[in-house]
């Protein structure tokens, strides 16, 4: 009896690991989509409404959830009176501290490159920088979508299948 309980546990754990690996792909696409949306929102607010940065960050925090909202929340908090950082410094701090964004180094650097542009001088320049970043992340999102559709099923299958095989071997 114990043997079968152990085997089921092994299958369950391996399947969970596979599902978790597949979930990473899903989370990455979700984050990239969220970030692109947030950057687009920033671009529109800056170029059309000239919304000040603290208000803009608040709007994004309300509209988004999860790691994307957390990134902007950390930035907003860093800019608050207690911390007194400018946007540039606060944005870099937020990128360093925020977790669960599932970004590769080049994507993080693309976001980091926005720091000297945002909050500075004309709205047009900022809008262009945001468009460039959103465009780069969009191409990354396409790749991530492709990876998700092919790899997430494989991961789940490997997890479940590997678990069954391991259980059979152990039995």
């Amino acid at each position: 009896m114990l043997k079968y309980i152990g085997a089921i546990t092994v299958v369950f754990c391996c399947a969970l690991m596979g599902i978790k690996a597949a979930g990473e792909y899903r989370a990455r696409t979700r984050c990239l989509r969220g970030l692109i949306g947030a950057l687009e929102l920033m671009r529109e607010e800056i170029s059309c409404m000239l919304t000040p940065m603290p208000e803009l960050l608040e709007i994004i925090c309300k509209q988004y959830t999860g790691p994307v909202a957390n990134l902007f929340k950390i930035c907003l908090e860093s800019m608050s009176k207690d911390y007194g950082k400018g946007f540039s410094e606060a944005w870099n701090t937020a990128l360093s501290l925020s977790q669960g964004l599932h970004l590769y180094t080049d994507e993080t650097e693309t976001l980091r490159a926005l720091a000297p542009h945002l909050g500075r001088y004309d709205g047009d320049g900022q809008a262009k920088a945001l468009s460039r970043a959103a465009c780069y992340l969009s191409t990354k999102l396409d790749t991530a979508e492709r990876e998700k559709s092919s790899n997430s099923r494989i991961c789940t299958a490997i997890g479940v299948g590997g678990g069954i095989m391991l259980a059979i071997i152990l039995i």
Partner: protein, 328 residues
Amino acid sequence: MCFDISTKRADEAVIFADMPSYYLFGQEITESESNERIMLKETDNFIHAVELLPPRLRSRVSDYKHAEEIRIRTGRKVSIVLPDGEKRLSENALPSDINYILDSATKSSMHSSSESLKNGYITADGGNRIGLCGSAIIKNGVVSGLRNISSVCIRIAKEVYGISEPLIPELTDEYGPLSVLIISSPGGGKTTLLRDLTRAVSDRGYTVAIADERSEIAAMKDAYAQFDVGSTTDIMDSCPRSEAIAFMLRAMSPRVIVMDELYGEDDCNALISAIGCGASVFATAHASDKNDLLLRKSLVPLLQTGIFRKIVCIKKEKSGRSYQVESL
């Protein structure tokens, strides 16, 4: 008629030689209440101004609570303009200090202040105005912004209650407020007098509309005026004055229109278009006296219309400020 009003700058109390009365919301208040109110507001604005500075300069500047201006020029010593002259600190200003001030003043949102930046200033919390100098960015032959900002002048906004009360009889007739132009050289206290005159007239029940293009008169924040500009005052904030006047005349039926610092032809044309609408105008202009005013070619057509019935000339002297009312 000339009123002499001495201003005790060290204590920030205001004493009227002819009329020792103080008013708040149209009601007489005691001298200590007035002083307390003035002190609180000025301290608030001074704190706002100090908070704009980088931490390394804050502690040095915070000792000068009676500062009128804080001037920062890259590579030069930070200086503070006090009522009795300019004081230079030992610290040299760095470009990073200026960037810090701009970030603080605009909350890292220079784009939100791009229109005022074109005109070389930003209005910060509390109505403090930050004047800027640097390299102009020219697009299509027009200044579209500033870069490499090298000088910053933080002007600490003041609110002095009751300063206009002795002038009110001269500036009104049996039908109500007359159109008034307040003149002085820069830093003479035109906006301070204009603000108090606005409050005084408004609290007497006249509907007042302020075209506050630079957010200096009322200092609007989150839809609230940070300065007391009266109980029957409507404020059109951050809007070009010509458009603001048209909006307000159409929508708010003002008895008095208020605007600060007439400068170019646009301002004058905006006011000329308001002539005959039944509203009086309170405005200010840079000029040391009436003769100086007539030398300003852009203002002459406006003055020739006869829109202004009275001129208040402010003279800044060591003992305080004197206010001279003349008919036009």
